[in-house]
């Protein structure tokens, strides 16, 4: 009995006296369960506007719409991070259009065209704000929105006032921007704040869905269940949702720049010579996009293996795509089926038609473009733009003065091994040459067709040897299947993927305070090779769950 009493005294005494700072940090660290060895630090959180895709998804999920309802919404990037008049005007137009169509009415618990009902308006504020703001509205915000409603009622009827209210909520900074305040907590290292539960929920949902948290995640945040364990569980739940699959497919499509960039066009817009590719048409472009998206989706379904992404021979094809790949028997017309592609010809993403036709010219393959994208996108190793005097006339092979037909490889080498070009092209060219066995539409070719100055056509033997010089997977390869194996093995590719994913999640470059957290994610991806594990690791890190106090 006496012993129990003593323990109680000690326990009570512990509550009254200030906790030792070191002990506080240990306790907080234990609660947050950060991975051992990762520096507990984070970057300041900056206000960032939803990008076009996030904006579409957010409006869709806030209002309970379908993808088609928001598909036409375009919102340009603000290059300097400062919103332009066009951006603000577009947001006003978009919300005006949606509200004019009554998109918000289903969240209203009364008849908008019925008798004025202030209680119904108050309930509408609570319901819509909770979704739009990704958390319940504060009393201050409720007061503001109630004022908006009352003011509108002074000049407008009930239905129009509800419309005004809906537009104000949908245009508010709490929807359009991602704002993270963080909260003080004893025991945190100096200058760090922990994200509030609803802010953490939003980080998670935008990471995995590019959209708002669903009710389950909002509830988990509201009920204090987003501790380390709860967060892991929610991350796992969200990653298993089809919205995560869509996000990852889009992420990989962006990573491979298949939707275009300032220097090249998208799958649908790449110009091809119709005389050389009579099988090319818009339906084929849509089909090769779908084939690549299904490849990435299937890889994600299996956990997101980087190895599988670059080496899978499985393909989801319809008739025209099967014919493009030389698969026999090809399914009839637009019947889609999974099939295995020829092992000596096709590997993962970088050997699929979508990738190959984007990084080609109209009539022939472009080893330079293909080599450049491998380094720039897959290895995060950009090269400087060519100097303005660089000759950018398309290389089409040809014939030398003795009448000998020249391969594209030979002409590329001759053209780019000048003093000015050599420093970049001695690495770019060998990364692109292994793709020589695919034509400009991504079809397999056993010989290369070149055209002499008199129009005569020649078939030239292909040399598809090359190398990823200066990378962690150097060493000669013959063909893009072997090159893809190198990419699958490369640590640099996995690190690049991590960096790209982190940058997209935060909407900015990796900051110094985040390096240890990012290194942890890199290590996880290098160890397991699965994108899903990398995303889970990201969620575990202090840089994901904390923010540094911003400079006032």
């Amino acid at each position: 009995m006496r012993r129990i009493w003593l323990l109680s005294v000690i326990a009570i005494g512990g509550c009254d006296e200030p906790e030792n700072p070191a002990s506080q940090r240990r306790r907080v660290a234990a609660e947050d369960d950060f991975p051992p060895g990762v520096v507990v630090d984070a970057a300041p959180s900056t206000l960032r506007r939803l990008d076009a895709r996030q904006y579409r998804n957010t409006l869709r999920d806030v209002l309970g719409l379908g993808d088609a309802d928001v598909a036409g919404i375009q919102l340009a990037d603000d290059e300097g991070g400062i919103p332009s008049l066009l951006t603000v005007g577009t947001i006003d137009d978009v919300t005006g259009d949606l509200v004019a169509k009554g998109a918000h009415r289903k969240l209203l618990s009364c008849d908008a065209n019925g008798a004025p009902d202030d209680a119904c308006a108050a309930s509408f504020i609570t319901t819509l704000a909770r979704k739009a703001f990704r958390r319940p509205a504060t009393s201050d915000e409720t007061q503001w929105l109630t004022g908006v409603y009352e003011s509108a009622r002074g000049a407008l009827d009930f239905a129009a006032s509800i419309d005004v209210l809906a537009r104000v909520i949908l245009e508010s900074p709490l929807l359009v921007y991602r704002y993270e305040e963080g909260e003080e907590r004893e025991g945190l290292p100096e200058g760090l704040l922990r994200l509030r539960p609803h802010e953490l929920a939003s980080r998670l949902s935008y990471l995995l869905w590019d959209s708002i948290p669903d009710d389950g995640l909002v509830d988990a945040a509201a009920n204090g269940r987003l501790d380390a364990r709860g967060l892991r569980a929610e991350a796992d739940r969200l990653a298993s949702d089809p919205k995560a699959r869509t996000k990852v497919v889009q992420f990989v499509t962006d990573w491979a720049e298949l939707d275009g960039s300032p220097t090249h066009v998208s799958i649908e817009e790449a110009v091809k010579d119709p005389t050389l590719f009579p099988n090319d048409n818009p339906a084929l472009r849509a089909a090769v996009r779908r084939e690549t998206e299904e490849l990435v989706g299937r890889v994600w379904d299996h956990g997101g293996s980087v190895n599988e992404l670059f080496t899978s021979r499985e393909a989801f094809v319809n008739g025209p795509v099967a014919q493009l790949y030389g698969v026999t028997p090809a399914p009839a017309g637009d019947t889609w089926t999974w099939t295995a592609l020829p092992a000596d010809q096709r590997s993962g993403l970088a050997t699929r038609a979508a990738f190959l036709l984007v990084f080609s010219n109209a009539d022939i393959a472009s080893p330079i473009r293909r080599g450049a994208v491998v380094f720039r996108q897959f290895m995060c190793t950009p090269f400087p733009p060519p100097p303005p005097t660089a000759n950018d006339v398309q290389i089409s092979g040809g014939v030398d003065p003795t009448g000998r037909p020249l391969s594209i490889r030979e002409v590329v080498t001759t053209t780019t091994m000048t003093a000015e070009c050599r420093s970049c092209h001695e690495r770019l060219n060998p990364a692109g040459f292994p793709f020589a066995r695919y034509d400009a539409l991504g079809q397999w070719q056993n010989a290369e067709r070149v055209v002499g100055s008199d129009g005569t056509k020649y078939d030239v033997a292909i040399d598809a040897t090359g190398e990823l010089l200066g990378s962690d997977v150097a060493g000669s390869v013959d063909g893009a299947v072997q090159l893809s194996e190198k990419l699958a093995q490369s640590r640099r590719v996995k690190d690049c993927l991590t960096m790209t994913a982190w940058q997209r999640a935060m909407g900015r470059a990796v900051m110094g305070e985040e390096v240890s957290s990012v290194d942890y994610v890199k290590e996880r991806l290098a160890t397991t090779g699965r994108i899903r594990d990398a995303l889970a690791a990201m969620v575990e890190t202090p840089a994901f769950r904390y923010v540094r106090k911003a400079v006032p």
């Binding site: 900056t46 951006t87 915000e141 537009r167 104000v168 275009g260």
Partner: protein
């Protein structure tokens, strides 16, 4: 992301021929009503054509003697932009030839460099550097966007925005500016409202129309329209309050974002309120025209911006035209998909280039391509000139500027940049002349040397609008001289 779409040769030519048609029936009965009766009201219109024009300029430092390409080597050596007479007697060059009926109202200014670009940019050129300095004459910085793309951002406003702000404070209009764009291929906007603040333009015809004309009616506004305006004002006031409440919680960096948002909300609200005083007949067009259909979008965008000026909705307009696809070229060049790539072929149609035999064909195609955009300029010019105002026309009381980020796009030259003015800004500029700032020996047609930069021209333009500025743009070390461009007035 820049997206492109093909344009057939036949369709392209059909579009070019369309310029000969009469102007669409805009608000001819109302234009006069809203234009002021004297030459005091001045409007500024900027046409910006991405990708350069077609000249034989090399790249070089300002104040150095340069030699233009003569065509004996790989570079093609022709100049389709400059007047064919170096004197003040304006003999229009090939691209300008379609403006011959309006020669007396034009000023072609040659021998002017983008000095700010030359003094700062790597290679003395490059698209992004050229874009961010051509209209701003400002300092610029390289940066990376949130999606990892490189960008160069001006650290000061472009001339159109400076005038927009000042004219708006002198004589407010519902829109401080009207900005439209024809999509194609480009490397970023040349328009900036300040440091790191690029200005976007409407690229979709229907959206552009709705943005500027949604609340405009030919007669008195209907009760329904008044009700909609009241609702819009309630929305903008409510949203503004939301941003105001957030602002005090933010860091100074984030507050810049919210402040910019608030400024734009204020502009939107100001427009809605100002529209109550406007009645005018909006232009008509096919609303289903897609924003990638450049040859149709071009005239529609001109009509929208023109109508906005004629209706008194604004005093400042910008028309941005990207490099328009030119896949109508025959083999061996086609199907190439960029007007800019087309220009890069300049190196290959010179005497020693691989396509020397195609030189004339290339020049013809280039001229047609560049004239297409000049045709849009002409459409705008004619639209202003057809409305009497005071003792002249709206054009006489306006100033139109046509330029591009490059002269010779094939070598990214920002020397001797293309500068065409139309309208005299209320008689301030003496038009019908060629102002040649090339101070090299005039008997040597290939010699080029200048001390003049776009900052000088823009200073002159500010002066023409009644603002006594002594300098426009950054005070960069290395500028040969500051102050207005001599000889314009």
């Amino acid at each position: 992301m820049s997206k492109r779409q093909g344009t057939g040769r036949r369709a392209f030519l059909r579009g070019a021929g369309g310029f000969l048609l009469a102007l669409p029936g805009l608000e001819l009965t109302h234009g006069e009503a809203w234009a002021q009766a004297t030459g005091a009201a001045k409007r500024f219109i900027t046409f910006f054509r991405h990708g350069g024009t077609a000249t034989n300029m090399p790249r070089g430092a300002i104040d150095r003697l340069l030699r233009r390409y003569d065509g004996s080597g790989a570079p093609q050596g022709a100049n389709l932009w400059n007047p064919t007479d170096p004197s003040a007697n304006l003999v229009l060059g090939p691209i300008h030839s379609i403006l011959s009926a309006h020669r007396s109202k034009l000023l072609v200014v040659t021998g002017v460099d983008n000095a700010a670009g030359i003094l700062q940019a790597p290679y003395l050129g490059g698209h992004r550097w050229a874009n961010s300095t051509i209209l701003t004459a400002a300092r610029a910085v390289e940066t990376t966007t949130s999606t990892g793309r490189e960008a160069v951002l001006a650290q000061g406003p472009s001339i159109d925005h400076v005038l927009e702000t000042r004219l708006q404070s002198k004589s407010p209009t519902p829109f401080s500016s009207v900005r439209v764009k024809v999509l194609g291929h480009d490397y970023g906007t040349p328009f900036f409202s300040g440091a790191n603040k690029p200005i976007g333009s409407h690229a979709n015809p229907a959206k552009a129309f709705d943005a500027y004309f949604a609340g405009v009616t030919p007669g008195a506004p209907s009760p329904e329209l008044l009700r909609r305006r009241a609702a819009n004002i309630s929305v903008l006031e409510g949203v503004t309050e939301g941003y105001r409440r957030l602002a005090p919680k933010l860091s100074s960096q984030d507050r810049q974002v919210v402040d910019a948002h608030l400024t734009h909300l204020g502009e939107l609200e100001g427009r809605v309120r100002a529209l109550n005083a406007i009645s005018c007949t909006p232009p008509t067009f096919n609303r289903t025209t897609t924003d990638r259909d450049a040859e149709r979008v071009g005239p529609i965008m001109v009509d929208i911006a023109l109508a906005a000026l004629r209706c008194g909705l604004t005093n400042v307009a910008t028309v941005e035209v990207s490099d328009i696809i030119t896949s109508w070229l025959p083999q061996p060049w086609g199907p190439l998909d960029l007007g800019h790539t087309l220009h890069h072929l300049a190196r290959d149609v010179g005497a020693t280039g691989p396509y020397a035999a195609k030189r004339q064909q290339w020049l013809d195609e280039m001229q047609l391509n560049r004239q297409w955009c000049m045709g849009l300029f002409r459409r705008f010019l004619q639209g202003l000139d057809s409305v009497p105002e005071g003792n002249g026309s709206m054009l006489d009381n306006s100033l139109m500027l046509y330029t591009s980020e490059f002269s010779n796009g094939s070598v990214h030259s920002i020397n001797d940049v293309p500068l065409l003015l139309a309208g005299s800004a209320g008689g301030h500029f003496r038009t019908g002349r060629h102002i040649n700032c090339n101070v090299a020996n005039p008997t040597d047609r290939l010699a080029y040397q200048t001390r003049t930069g776009t900052h000088n021209l823009y200073t002159s333009i500010l002066n023409a609008f009644g603002f006594p500025d002594a300098h426009f743009g950054a005070d960069l070390p290395g500028l040969a001289f500051k102050g207005p461009l001599p000889g314009l007035t």
